[in-house]
């Protein structure tokens, strides 16, 4: 049995100090060996996270160093990926990662926002839960299943219907963006599957921030005679803007790191091409395809360097996204 401390004074909370829970505990309870063990274990568990992150970053950067040292900045700008001659440049992968992700954002954001607005403003209450559930369920589908469906359903659809339509019927085939033969596996295919995959993330965050907009905003707009759509456009969305942007950037972060579905649909080609019909490569895909067999220290290091670039970019994007979403959360309270 523990002894309560005598005459304990509850210290005022110092900024960034311990929470009131711990203080209250100190005031009421004494300590025991069990507490020490418990505190140690939970602290150790908490430390595991930064340690893991640090270890991963360290390991990847160290392994990537030889490639950066050998090629310098040209690693990021060169398109040459020649295993025979030992020259590696990641420009096509960086291009592919960025283009497929940004295009996915362009495709997904209006749709996600539309669904979010639908769910927060227009949907009758009986429809709200099922539709929200179905959209959120998209996030639960594993990447490899998206890839499987992509190969057998999406690719033939793109190759036989969409691409000829874009190139021929709409006449866009003469523009550099839609030129070239319609293979099927292409930047466009990767962007479409990514758009489907990031839709639930953007939608979920947007839905939350839209619902968090105070009623006073809505009522003020209505009181001024706005129609429902005008209220949404002028009062709700601007208020929720930074949260929505945070959700969009979160979706971007997810798209940047996506591996399996993209590998199965992008065509695996080390080349920068302006056409969306052309095959491409992403940082994640090149690692998935070539890592298991990269003999030669430089090839392995080049792949690790791709991993390092990917790591850096996704960490940065995710950090920005989290910060933005937290900003909104703080303001709303």
């Amino acid at each position: 049995m523990s002894q309560p401390t005598h005459g304990a004074v509850v210290e005022p909370a110092a900024p960034g100090g311990r929470s009131t829970t711990a203080q209250a505990d100190d005031a009421i309870a004494g300590s025991s060996r069990g507490d020490g063990v418990y505190r140690f274990l939970t602290t150790a568990a908490a430390w595991a996270i930064p340690l893991l992150l640090g270890l991963i970053t360290l390991e990847v950067v160290l392994a990537a160093w030889p490639a950066f040292e050998t090629f310098g900045l040209s690693f990021l700008t060169s398109s040459e990926w020649d295993e025979v001659r030992g020259v590696f440049g990641a420009a096509p992968m960086i291009y592919g990662t960025v283009v497929s992700s940004v295009l996915a954002l362009v495709l997904a954001t209006p749709l996600a926002l539309g669904v979010a607005i639908f769910l927060s403003e227009f949907a009758p209450s009986w429809l709200r839960t099922p539709v929200a559930f179905l959209v959120d369920l998209l996030a639960a589908i594993p990447s490899v299943v998206y890839g499987l469906w992509g190969i057998f359903v999406l690719l033939p659809f793109l190759r036989e219907t969409v691409m000829p339509f874009l190139a021929g019927t709409l006449g866009l085939g003469n523009t550099p963006f839609f030129s070239g033969p319609a293979y099927g596996p292409s930047m466009l295919a990767a962007a479409v599957i990514l758009a489907i995959m990031i839709l639930p993330y953007i939608s979920a965050v947007s839905r939350e921030v839209l619902m968090a907009v105070p009623r006073s905003q809505r009522e003020a707009a209505m009181a001024l005679g706005a129609t429902k759509w005008e209220m949404i456009r002028d009062a709700v969305i601007p208020y929720a803007r930074s949260g929505i942007v945070g959700g969009v950037i979160l979706g971007l972060g997810r798209a940047l790191g996506e591996t399996m579905a993209v590998t199965m649909l992008i065509g695996n080609r080390h080349e920068i091409s302006s056409s969306l019909f052309a095959p491409g490569y992403t940082l994640a895909s090149v690692i998935a395809n070539e890592f298991a067999e990269a003999t030669g220290a430089l090839h392995t290091s080049a792949l690790m360097a791709c991993g390092a670039v990917l790591l850096g970019v996704t960490l940065l994007v995710n950090a920005i996204a989290r910060w933005l979403v937290w900003q909104v959360a703080r303001e709303g309270r």
Binding site: A24, V115, K228, A235
Partner: protein, 306 residues
């Protein structure tokens, strides 16, 4: 325009002011039409957003359902080109990997969640919270190459353990976050009452607070497990794959997502059939876990949150 009272200014200067000016210029009919149109657009958007899911599930059911049989669950893969065979070893392998992953991810995640909930404002807690979200966004392929460098290469062989640890590390941020949130939902009065009755702190945390929050934590754990059940990239260089039935932790092991990937990119129709069936089973597994998690949360906390 009726304006019997002066309009109350919104707290923040949003686009309302600009919109007010526009409104006086436009006609009511046009605005009503735009409103109706946008309403329609939103309905269409919702439909389009739901469509891929329905399509995927429909294709899975159509292509894969006919291949689901007892054979599928019990047989091993056959040599190339031969008909028949199943994914018994892949399903078993996935379960083994999930077990190992949970053994790693759950204790660390729950422990960290407890720490974050109790030491809420400390510097370590704030950083860990942020870094946990950052870890969550780590591309799974990077986790895979890290696991290969750290767990496969030094040991000299691929193994289920390596795959399980890679997956477990990915579980940690999810479990941490849900644990912290669930613990924070427990009223402090409960904790204080226990302490006042003479419970030691660790006992309070574990037997009173944790136990109260346990259903929520369990569902969070289930959601995390469901998410990593479908992960393929970390397994490419760790679990490696195995043609035979194997539950050994120090040997390469098959896994459902790995097998689906290998079969999907192959030219053999037989393997494609198995890939669809495998995908159906995988999705079924994920959906069942997600549904249990949703159902449990809803009934416990009265339908709060999305």
């Amino acid at each position: 325009m009726t304006s019997s009272t002066a309009p109350t200014r919104p707290r923040r200067d949003t686009g309302v002011r600009r919109a007010t000016a526009l409104r006086t210029a436009g006609t009511l009919t046009r605005r009503r039409a735009v409103n109706a149109l946008m309403q329609g657009v939103m309905y269409v958007a919702a439909l389009l957003a739901v469509l891929p899911l329905l399509l995927i599930v429909w294709h899975l059911a159509r292509e894969g359902a006919s291949s689901i049989s007892l054979d599928f669950f019990t047989r091993m893969p056959k040599p190339v080109g031969e008909v028949g065979g199943g994914m018994g070893n892949a399903i078993a392998g996935t379960l083994v990997l999930l077990g190992v992953a949970s053994a790693i991810g759950l204790p660390i995640g729950i422990g960290a969640g407890l720490y974050l909930a109790e030491q809420r404002g400390s510097r370590l807690a704030t950083s860990v919270r942020f870094l946990s979200d950052v870890l969550n966004g780590l591309p799974s392929i990077v986790m895979g190459i890290f696991a290969w460098q750290f767990l496969v290469r030094p040991l000299g062989h691929f193994s289920a353990t390596a795959g399980g640890i890679a997956l477990g590390a990915m579980m940690i941020p999810l479990v941490t976050r849900t644990t912290e949130e669930m613990i924070r939902l427990v009223p402090t009065s409960l904790r204080e009452a226990a302490l006042a009755l003479g419970y030691t702190r660790w006992r309070t945390s574990l037997t009173v607070v944790l136990r109260t929050a346990l259903p929520g934590i369990v569902t969070g754990a289930l959601v995390a497990v469901a998410r990593i059940a479908g992960e393929t990239a970390p397994l490419l260089f760790t679990a490696f794959g195995n043609q035979f039935w194997s539950l050994a932790l120090d040997q390469p092991i098959s896994a459902l997502p790995l097998q689906i990937f290998n079969y999907a990119i192959s030219p053999y129709d037989e393997w494609h059939r198995l890939a669809w069936a495998g995908a159906l089973v995988l999705i079924g597994l994920v959906l069942i876990i997600s549904l249990i998690a949703r159902y449990a949360t809803r009934s416990r906390f009265g339908g709060g949150g999305d």
